[in-house]
Symmetry: C2
Subunit: 176 residues, 2 copies
């Protein structure tokens, strides 16, 4: 048996709460873990097919609109338990804006600062959302832990954006 990948594991984790279709699962994933683990519908369907083939999930009653729900099997539950007990690997960040900045000599500070500033509203919005989650209460400890990460992260990004003009201020464009 191959190891579960994190996406497959998350699917099993969500199915623990009861039967869900691929569509539901994609939606749930987007809401609950979407900020640090992005999953598309296509991935969900593929993983569901493989999980079914391995006997870790099984199909329930089909319903309207071709809806096909799945539920967790005992083997699936066991496999999930094994996965979650495994120490997770390091995070990965892919930050296109930093790439642009790394080659920033081609653009010069002004264009770069504009591009960076364009990202600010997104971060402000997310930060506000996370803060309101905490303020509204109703989160369990685990959710509070992940949301608190989001807050720390967004604050860091905003702080960095604040510093950027001072850092890039002295530079001149080297290309055209």
């Amino acid at each position: 048996m191959t190891e579960l990948n994190p996406t497959a594991a998350a699917i099993l984790g969500f199915l623990d709460a009861g039967e869900l279709s691929g569509y539901d699962l994609a939606q749930t994933a987007a809401e609950v873990i979407g900020d640090f683990w992005h999953v598309t519908r296509s991935q969900v369907y593929r993983e569901l097919a493989q999980l079914a083939a391995r006997g870790l999930v099984e199909p329930g009653q089909p319903a309207a609109r071709a809806r096909q729900p799945y539920r967790l099997t005992e083997a699936g539950r066991a496999e999930f338990a094994k996965w979650i007990a495994t120490p997770p690997p390091a995070e990965q960040i892919r930050y296109p804006l930093l790439l642009t900045i790394a080659f920033g000599d081609w653009l010069g500070p002004d264009r770069l600062l504009d591009m960076a500033a364009a990202h600010r509203p997104d971060h402000e919005r997310r930060l506000a959302t996370y803060r309101s989650y905490l303020a509204d209460g109703g989160l369990d400890e685990y959710q509070r832990a992940t949301v608190t990460f989001g807050i720390a992260y967004e604050e860091a990004v905003l702080t960095w954006l604040d510093q950027l003009p001072a850092i890039l201020g002295g530079a001149r464009s080297g290309h055209g």
Copy 2:
């Protein structure tokens, strides 16, 4: 012509400095942008083949050990210039530890805190490295900008790790 992907663009960007082999490019990428844009050697070779097919790079003199260097063409330079002038999309984060925490009910706070703590040395090490880059000087403004992001990010992670025990402290495991 399809749009350049960021990895292909980075390859062109590095080739602006002169001829490099796929191996060199992979190495350079790991050093210069590896912290926010991970690229494997295999990707580099694939992109080089495609870039060559599109006339954006061209092969130079083969050398020992099957070394095949490439250089930028004028078309390649133009395409890179177009790419870097395009506003970059949002970053993506994939954080397996947060996934584990999101399903943390299965493990309980003690195991989670252990797992989280296991990541701390990595972050401390990276933070120290970034700080020494700044302290040693010799970085241009653009590098300082990306390194400063790294510092802000690692500080945020460490702060969050500090808060975790207090956040998870009250929880009990629900499974097992």
